[in-house]
């Protein structure tokens, strides 16, 4: 057979369980404990409300530029909910909700977006990397962590998030290839929100899906409806279980949408139509999941209102704590901390020079 077809991979599937009309596929419905379902709902709401509050704060000049996550709550939470505390999260810069789920405090997020280095501190014992701003660069760290976990015979799994734009970076490619070669326990979760700032997916790649990029690495790939928290959860659980069992990495493409601007410095009306956004607003993952919970009797109007109230209070408390903390932060000399385990002599001298300057300025202010 000289012109012979090669079997190169299982085909790529698309998974949807609770569709945008609210139709549920009972056969595929994952078996999620009630408590977890409610926790998912609570964090979806927390992600949403915190995002909205940050936008207010930003507009009031009380925080700096930040990237809203609205519309991607299901896409983040359905995946992260499959991790154990001892697993590792390797986020990009738009997984605020996932980070909150993992235990990051609201105030740490606010400190970060207010330009305080204190906002990227990871709590002790927590297996999370901090946000990574350089697009795609974190994917490789996930592979290193996973390799190390495997070397240590820990059954930890690493989950790495990144956007559709990130799939164009060389780091993405090298990361997925290394993971496949070493059969490292990583779950790659692509938040395909259709846009990389102003660049639509169709200018990012000539492929109809991002999931099929898995075929280039010899790993399973799957596309899921990212606004369907059940589908995201089902796909991620399968991938996490496979990774934990030694089955290697998986690429999950969550098809979702960046409903808001890229960051608060961005003006999306320059490059996309309001109709497109409207279409996606109708696919909002939050009411879709809320209605499902109500239909199965897990949520009532009253309990939903209570969650809403609790979440708003939590957000307010986070904002208050952040503002309290910021009042005590800001010593400029802090900038010299933690570059190295030990500050080298020449840098120490620079720190001392700055300390003298600041003291002199202080004196001037007091006497001047």
């Amino acid at each position: 057979m000289p012109r012979e077809k090669l079997v190169i991979a299982d085909s790529i599937e698309r998974l949807s369980i609770l569709d945008d009309k609210g139709q549920l596929d009972r056969e595929l419905e994952p078996d999620i404990p009630e408590e977890l379902l409610l926790k998912l709902y609570r964090y979806m709401l927390l992600g949403r409300r915190f995002d909205e509050r940050m936008l207010d704060l930003q507009r009031q000049g009380r925080i700096g530029t930040f990237p809203p996550i609205k519309g991607q709550e299901a896409s983040q939470l359905g995946a992260i909910a499959c991790l154990e505390a001892s697993d590792w999260l390797v986020p990009s810069f738009r997984e605020t909700t996932a980070e909150l789920w993992r235990g990051r405090s609201l105030e740490s997020v606010l400190l970060y977006y207010n330009g305080y280095n204190e906002g990227t501190v990871i709590p002790p014992e927590q297996c999370d990397l901090p946000m990574a701003v350089p697009v795609g660069s974190q994917v490789l760290h996930a592979v290193g962590l996973a390799w190390a976990a495997k070397y240590r015979r820990q059954d930890q799994v690493v989950m790495s998030f990144f956007g559709d734009g990130a799939t164009s970076e060389g780091d993405f490619h090298e990361g997925l290839n290394f993971a496949a070669v070493y059969q490292a326990p990583v779950v790659f979760v692509c938040q395909n929100n259709q846009w990389a700032i102003s660049v639509p997916l169709s200018r990012q790649t000539a492929t109809p899906t991002l999931a099929q990029k898995a075929i280039a690495y010899g790993m399973p790939g799957i596309q899921v409806d990212g606004n369907d928290v059940l589908a995201v959860y089902a796909a991620a659980r399968e991938a996490v279980e496979r990774a934990r069992a030694g089955g290697g990495p998986t690429l999950i493409e969550c098809v979702t949408y960046r409903v808001m601007m890229h960051t608060t410095a961005d003006e999306p009306s320059k490059y996309r139509s309001e109709e497109e956004v409207e279409l996606w607003r109708e696919r909002d993952p939050l009411p879709r999941f809320g209605d499902y919970l109500k239909a199965r009797g897990s949520l009532s109007e009253e309990s939903a209102a209570a969650v809403e109230e609790a979440v708003l209070a939590e957000v307010q408390a986070g904002v208050d704590r952040a503002e309290q903390q910021m009042a005590t932060l800001g010593d400029p000399l802090q900038m010299f901390d933690h570059l190295f385990a030990e500050l080298p002599p020449a840098t120490q001298a620079q720190k001392e020079a700055l300390a003298r300057e600041l003291a002199a300025n202080d004196r001037e202010e007091h006497h001047g």
Partner: protein, 325 residues
């Protein structure tokens, strides 16, 4: 003459060069409909279409590697790296190829490209958006490293960079993008690459800076003038290849110098300036040359960046020290 911000002046340079020369192609992330995240390419896709203003996938190596091929073919790509903090992704393409193609082929194939990137702090940006690492490119033989300090010279230097037959790294200070306006003539204006300028004359002290540091440096010169010290202020404009003629000449008159940059101090551009002055004017030196620079640390998140970036006071204080010495 119209009063323009640096963003507008850069836009003018691009527009006019694109009108004049269909070899000029813009490419980068979000340079098209979005007009660039700082709006430097605003309106250009509307005027020139998406074959002249090319949105790229999110891949800096790709942008630079592709630009190299375009330039070898005979085009004049002007690529934008969205922030200079993301230009290390493409470091190897610049060092391995852009900087060497003419040399490698002994003049047969050349890479007349420009890489534009915003640099520097002062605009409350996120991590990786505020660095000033021009020394990396300055130390790379085969590349030119240019940094304008205001709308008018930004426009003139960008035109020269586009017409230059060799690869030019062109850093634009975010802090200057909209900080002030200057008269920028509609008619063509260029400035030769590789030539620093005296922007204030004086004979007591030479202050040497570039880019965003020109404004605090000039301010410092004014403050010193109030104390009766006349500082000569020099704007490097081209960091590399560094022509030290003017610097050395200034020092032979003043005997004292302060070099200012935002970049980390050690192994930074200031060290080369100091060395050139030492080599060129040793016997005129009356005091150690001072460096007022960023510290040898990563520039902190924005709540503390003000204290990181050289201030007028630090420059004045350094000036005073060299005069006391």
């Amino acid at each position: 003459m119209a009063k323009m911000t640096m963003v507008q002046a850069l836009n003018l340079a691009l527009r006019q060069e694109m009108e004049k020369d269909d070899r000029v192609i813009l490419l980068g992330e979000d340079v098209g409909l979005d007009g660039g995240v700082f709006r430097v390419t605003d309106g250009l896709i509307e005027s020139f279409g998406d074959q002249r203003v090319v949105d790229t996938p999110l891949a800096e190596t790709g942008i630079v590697g592709m630009s190299i091929g375009m330039a070898v073919y005979g085009l004049r790509p002007v690529c934008e790296i969205q922030f200079s903090g993301f230009s290390y992704q493409n470091f190897h393409q610049l060092e391995n190829h852009a900087a060497r193609m003419r040399w490698r082929t002994q003049g047969r194939l050349t890479v007349p490209m420009v890489l534009r990137a915003p640099y520097g702090g002062g605009v409350r940006a996120l991590e990786h958006h505020s660095e000033s690492r021009e020394a990396y490119w300055a130390h790379t033989p085969g590349l030119k490293m240019v940094i304008p300090s205001g709308p008018r010279n930004a426009r003139a230097l960008l035109v020269s960079a586009i017409r230059d037959p060799d690869p030019v790294i062109f850093y634009e200070s975010k802090a200057l993008y909209r900080a002030f306006r200057e008269e920028v003539p509609e008619e063509e204006e260029t400035l030769p690459l590789g030539q620093p300028q005296v922007v204030r004359q004086g004979s007591d002290l030479s202050l040497i800076a570039y880019g965003a540091m020109m404004r605090p440096t000039l301010k410092a010169a004014e403050e010193l003038a109030e104390e009766g010290v006349e500082a000569e202020v020099i704007d490097l404009l081209t960091i590399s290849p560094l022509d030290d003629t003017l610097l050395v000449e200034s020092l032979t008159r003043t005997g004292r110098a302060v070099v200012v940059h935002e970049a980390p101090r050690s192994f930074g551009p200031g060290a080369e300036v100091v060395s050139r002055l030492m080599e060129g004017a040793f016997h005129y030196l009356q005091a150690p040359i001072e460096r007022v620079t960023g510290y040898d640390i990563v520039i902190p998140y924005f709540s503390r960046e003000k204290e990181y970036i050289p201030s007028v006071e630090r420059i004045v204080e350094a000036g005073r020290r060299t005069l006391r010495s």
